[in-house]
């Protein structure tokens, strides 16, 4: 058994405990400011009124949902090619987080849709491709959980994630194209062509907060993943008994 590989996992497990705690607290504070900025300080939209403010949750969640998928596929690729154990765990632990982000984006999109479109769901290009992204995440999670041998599972699901990553642009553009073909009631887009800086800044800030949150949760989940994989190994027993 390769020493450096164990050391890698062990190093991560034993050294990130305080970091994730700190990041969690940090996210909480940042999030509080972001909500305040977005919901009170930022001016209201002249077209949509106050209802646009949900985009401070919706847009970062939607961005993150794509970003996490990309991250998952790339770490999966690294784990397949260079056989880095920690990457296997990081890759698979991204899937549920990404799925939650997708779900948040969908639900907030629906809540925003009610006052804007008059209905919760419209087959709008963005919402539809977000929904398909959710299915892709579900596929990855379902495939992973169907295997009893989890290391085998990680390899196979990384492959699925990589193929999915290649497919996401194709899916996205085909859905966009499909949407322009069937001009529905949804010509309104979230991002206005020129968003005022006082609205844009809190959005970028929230994007940053979501990223910090993602890292905090990821570290926590990776620790859990390492624990599940290594709970019978000697260093883990030694570490926990200390």
């Amino acid at each position: 058994m390769n020493i450096s590989k164990i050391a890698n996992l062990k190093f991560f497990f034993t050294n990130t405990k305080n970091l994730s705690r700190f990041l969690g607290l940090f996210t909480f504070i940042l999030f509080f400011f972001g909500i305040y900025w977005g919901l009170y300080v930022a001016p209201s939209d002249y077209l949509q009124g106050e209802s646009y403010r949900i985009m401070y949750l919706h847009v970062p969640a939607a961005w993150l949902s794509l970003q996490v998928y990309m991250f998952m596929a790339i770490t999966g690729f690294v784990s397949l090619v260079w056989k880095v154990k920690i990457m296997e765990i990081i890759s698979i632990q991204c899937a549920p987080i990404g799925a939650y982000f997708t779900l948040i984006a969908l639900v907030t999109g629906m809540v925003w849709g009610k006052p804007t479109w008059g209905t919760y769901w419209v087959w709008d290009a963005r919402l539809t491709s977000e929904l398909i992204l959710l299915f892709l995440y579900i596929g990855v999670i379902a495939l992973y959980s169907a295997f009893s041998d989890k290391r085998q599972a990680v390899k196979i699901t990384s492959l699925l994630a990589i193929v999915g990553l290649v497919n996401i642009p194709i899916i996205h553009y085909s859905v966009e194209w499909w949407n322009t073909l069937h001009q529905g009631p949804s010509v309104t887009k979230f991002e206005q062509p020129s968003m005022h800086i006082s609205m844009l800044l809190p959005l970028l800030y929230m994007f940053l907060v979501f990223n910090v949150y993602f890292i905090a949760v990821l570290i926590k989940r990776v620790q859990l993943g390492i624990y599940n994989r290594e709970k019978r190994s000697k260093w883990m027993e030694d570490y926990l008994s200390d």
Partner: protein, 216 residues
């Protein structure tokens, strides 16, 4: 046709293999040469099948190396498959084809068989006494006969290294002696055999090295 090597040596160096988090085998170091047979014995579930699979490269090792003539079999340049005939404990016979068609098809994958003649397949089936099942669908014949049919590949192939997983299961005593004869002939013909078995055949075949695997 690929060049068939005459001096062969498989050296296994501290090979370890994991399935999931469970260790299958650890730190196996061994080496086998021409005119030798490595007999792997051990209780059920001790990893004999996995070990044999890792020698032909379809099971990846966690650490350690397996080399054929000092070329690692997992490296890209390895041509070990040109020399290895692997017959697993699954028969790799297609149920929808007849015994004859199956053997013909399997030989199509084997480059050491230059041109397969109907006569040769028939002869190999006759050797095991199953020539009368030649045109039977594989799904219609018994387990033992399936095993014999898959072992008939040993007579057809010209490869020097045989990797056999449980070749003696399901086989009657008459078939047993025929297979052992075959092993002896192959060993004397500067061949190399690695096989797993529950029966100790080390006395029946010349130059046998026994290897016990323990449950880990």
């Amino acid at each position: 046709m690929e060049e068939v090597l005459n001096n062969l040596e498989i050296s296994i160096d501290r090979a370890s293999c994991f399935k999931g988090n469970n260790m299958v085998f650890e730190n196996i170091s061994y080496s086998v040469k021409n005119n030798e047979m490595m007999l792997i014995m051990g209780p059920n579930g001790c990893g004999k099948t996995t070990f044999i699979k890792s020698i032909c490269g379809i099971q990846k090792l966690e650490s350690g190396s397996i080399k054929l003539n000092s070329i690692d079999i997992n490296s890209d340049s390895s041509e070990h498959l040109n020399n290895i005939l692997y017959i697993g404990h699954k028969n790799s016979l297609n149920n929808d084809l007849t015994v004859f068609e199956n053997l013909e098809y399997l030989c199509a994958f084997d480059k050491s068989v230059s041109n397969i003649l109907e006569q040769e397949i028939k002869k190999s089936l006759e050797y095991f006494g199953i020539a009368k099942f030649k045109n039977y669908l594989v799904s219609k014949i018994s387990e033992g006969n399936k095993k014999k049919a898959s072992l008939a590949r040993l007579l057809l192939s010209n490869k020097k290294i045989w990797l056999l997983d449980e070749p003696l299961s399901f086989i009657d005593s008459e078939g047993n002696t025929k297979i052992l004869d075959l092993f002896n002939k192959h060993i004397n013909n500067s061949g190399l055999i690695i096989l797993s078995s529950h029966i100790d055949i080390s006395k029946d075949v010349t130059n046998t090295k026994k290897y016990y695997m323990e449950n880990s």
